[in-house]
């Protein structure tokens, strides 16, 4: 099975700082990590490969330093990595990003599965995976928690608010992954040695036949009006006492507030 996993390097913080002037992320001084959902995507890909054979290639679009995220994935067990990096990609919104990633998948050819995290923890749009399926003209399965493969078709669980759907599908597919039941595997010494000894290929716009009108800032119709951290409304209150007293007090308060 040939699997491509798309990963994004994101700032390691739950409260991302936004530049109030440009409305973009402040990246200075914030350590970078692999987007946690993408690590689950990689774990899923590695499990499928370990069980059914084939190869896992990780790709990322980003500045040259995003190679660190790809090396981390190699250290965890991915077979190959490609960085998509070009000034022409700068300023991409989700549409331009998904187009660029799709062009890289096209160039690879013969890809059975493209696996993405359900969303990145910085932008939280959850758009890139589904948009890639549209660009590639293949099916998509989103919010997936398990995948079984019987040699021909995939059977996946797609999480819903209440329960999950069991879906049968055929490759090629784009799949987006939620938090799995197990933690992503830890990097190994062998993987780490490989990750830092290998040359990670960098593909530019020319390498993947990018139409400049569809990539980077020019290919990005999204206009960001404002991004902000919502202010906390009111103070939280912790009700003390044993559980029965605390529950009674809570019910009283909810009644007073006319919530109950």
């Amino acid at each position: 099975m040939e699997i491509v996993v798309c990963v994004k390097q994101v700032p390691d913080t739950t409260e991302v700082k936004i530049d109030p002037v440009t409305n973009t992320l402040v990246r200075e001084g914030v350590p970078s990590i692999v987007n946690p959902f993408d690590k689950y995507a990689l774990e899923m890909a590695l499990q499928l490969r370990d069980k059914h054979g084939g190869k896992v290639t990780v790709i990322s679009m980003g500045p040259p330093q995003a190679v660190a995220a790809l090396r981390e994935c190699i250290a965890m067990g991915a077979d190959e990595a490609v960085l998509l990096s070009d000034r022409a990609f700068a300023g991409s919104d989700t549409l331009a990003t998904s187009y660029t990633l799709s062009q890289a998948v096209r160039k690879m050819g013969n890809v059975d599965l493209v696996i993405c995290g359900k969303q990145a923890i910085d932008g939280d749009t959850a758009q890139v995976g589904p948009e890639m399926a549209e660009h590639l003209g293949i099916g998509q399965l989103t919010y997936v928690s398990t995948i079984e493969f019987d040699g021909e078709k995939l059977i996946a669980h797609r999480e819903q608010d209440e329960g999950y759907d069991v879906i049968e599908a055929k490759a090629p597919l784009v799949v987006t992954i939620i938090k799995l039941a197990m933690d992503p595997r830890l990097p190994t010494v062998k993987g780490t040695a490989k990750a830092y000894r290998m040359e990670v290929p960098v593909w530019t716009a020319a390498d993947i036949a990018i139409d400049p009108k569809l990539a980077g800032l020019e290919g990005s119709p999204t206009l960001v009006k404002r991004i902000f951290t919502p202010e906390r409304r009111g103070k939280g209150e912790i009700i003390q006492g044993d559980s029965k007293e605390a529950v009674d007090a809570l019910v009283d308060k909810l009644r007073q507030a006319k919530i109950l």
Binding site: L186, P187, V189, T192, A193, R197
Partner: protein, 379 residues
């Protein structure tokens, strides 16, 4: 001159830090409190490739250098010095003499499973009456047919009773002094080998140290390392390398304490501002950071020399002497930064202070380090 750690070794640091924080940090408080040795930790480290880092891949190792090894020990010690001593004794004191002095057959049989982390290793040198005075050892081995029968008791034996493989030092000729010592690979389960009491300790409480008791313990003659009489030289050169592990452990303990102290000093408000902004505390933190950095450079230097076939006996002794003093002073200062909370078991710095003390004692006391250094500079 190049003081930069290679990207590959920084990758090892990142990898081991993730392992330590995810797998060791959540349980170390309980393991320390209850003196629990958890073998499954070493099994997992074996799977990740951490139990044979500096040995060639053909012997099941990671094919990395001793700087990578020092960094790995440092990162584990930053979180859990009990696990790092188990790893250090296994790697530096048990696997290394087999790698260096073993026959190809011995390497295949013992080094490969040790480096893969399938087997755990130990090192039996210290006896009740032979600490720094190694030559006073009374354990004795007599040859009988194609076996040696070993009799004697080893104490404070790290991984003792848990390890499947132990490098044991004995006299084989009582009249020949230090030249009458020999080294053997002894397997757990050998007839005549048993284990005595487990030490109850001030620090590194999640590591295990036991008595190893041998009464005519039967060991195949083919398990001798080198030949009869090589034991003292094997012990001394092995300990030279082991000291890099202990120096790295001391650096890691000190770094852990410093990291906790910095974080706490930024949060703790007294007199209306964080104590980190008080000069009394900030200067203390600056001194701590400087000491840790100096200890780290000495340790990496010794590890670099070992990796590059340069002399490292004096360098390793200096690194251990200095780094262990740094670990003691920095952890003591970290407790001071925390004030009353530092003395409480609610916070990790008191554990790090208890763990630090042993680094001035084992694998050669600070006094023994001065003997090694003086012997080297006064030659």
């Amino acid at each position: 001159m190049n003081f930069t750690v290679s990207p590959e070794n920084e990758g090892i640091r990142k990898m081991v830090r993730e392992f330590a924080e995810k797998k060791l940090a959540p349980t170390i408080v309980e393991r320390d409190e209850k003196e629990l040795f958890d073998r499954s930790i070493f099994d997992e480290m074996g799977k990740l490739g951490l139990m044979g880092l500096p040995y060639p891949e053909k012997y099941g190792g990671g094919g990395m250098d001793f700087v990578a090894y020092a960094i790995a020990i440092e990162e584990i010690s930053r979180v859990d010095a009990s696990t790092s001593i188990g790893m250090s004794v296994h790697t530096s004191l048990c696997s290394w003499p087999i790698y260096k002095y073993g026959t190809e057959e011995q390497k295949q049989k013992y080094l490969v499973p040790l480096a893969q982390g399938i087997k755990l290793g130990a090192f039996g040198l210290t006896e009740p009456n032979a600490g720094t005075d190694v030559g006073n050892a009374s354990t004795f081995a007599v040859k009988e047919g194609d076996s040696y029968l070993i009799t004697g008791t080893k104490v404070f034996n790290t991984n003792g009773g848990e390890a499947e493989v132990e490098v044991v030092f004995t006299k084989t000729n009582k009249e020949a002094g230090l030249k009458g010592m020999s080294a053997f690979i002894v397997e757990k389960g050998s007839p005549g080998l048993s284990f005595g009491k487990k030490e109850t300790k001030m620090g590194i409480r999640a590591a295990v140290q036991r008595e190893v008791i041998m009464v005519n313990a039967k060991t195949p003659a083919s398990n001798i390392l080198g030949k009869e009489g090589d034991g003292f030289r094997i012990a001394m050169t092995t300990l030279d390398g082991g000291r890099i592990g202990i120096a790295a452990q001391a650096v890691g303990i000190a770094q852990g304490a410093l990291d906790h102290a910095i974080k706490y000093a930024k949060q703790r408000v007294q007199f209306g501002k964080p104590i980190a902004t008080q000069q009394g505390i900030s200067f203390m933190l600056a001194n701590m950071a400087t000491k840790v950095e100096a200890a780290r450079l000495m340790t990496y230097r010794a590890a670099f020399n070992k990796s590059n076939d340069l002399p490292y006996s004096k360098e390793a002794a200096m690194a251990k002497l200095f780094a262990s003093d740094v670990a003691m002073s920095v952890t003591t200062d970290a407790v001071q930064v925390f004030g009353g909370y530092g003395y409480s078991r609610e916070y990790p710095v008191e554990r790090l202070m208890r763990d630090a003390k042993i680094t001035q004692i084992y694998e050669g006391t600070s006094e023994a380090m001065r003997m090694v250094i003086a012997g080297s500079i006064l030659r």
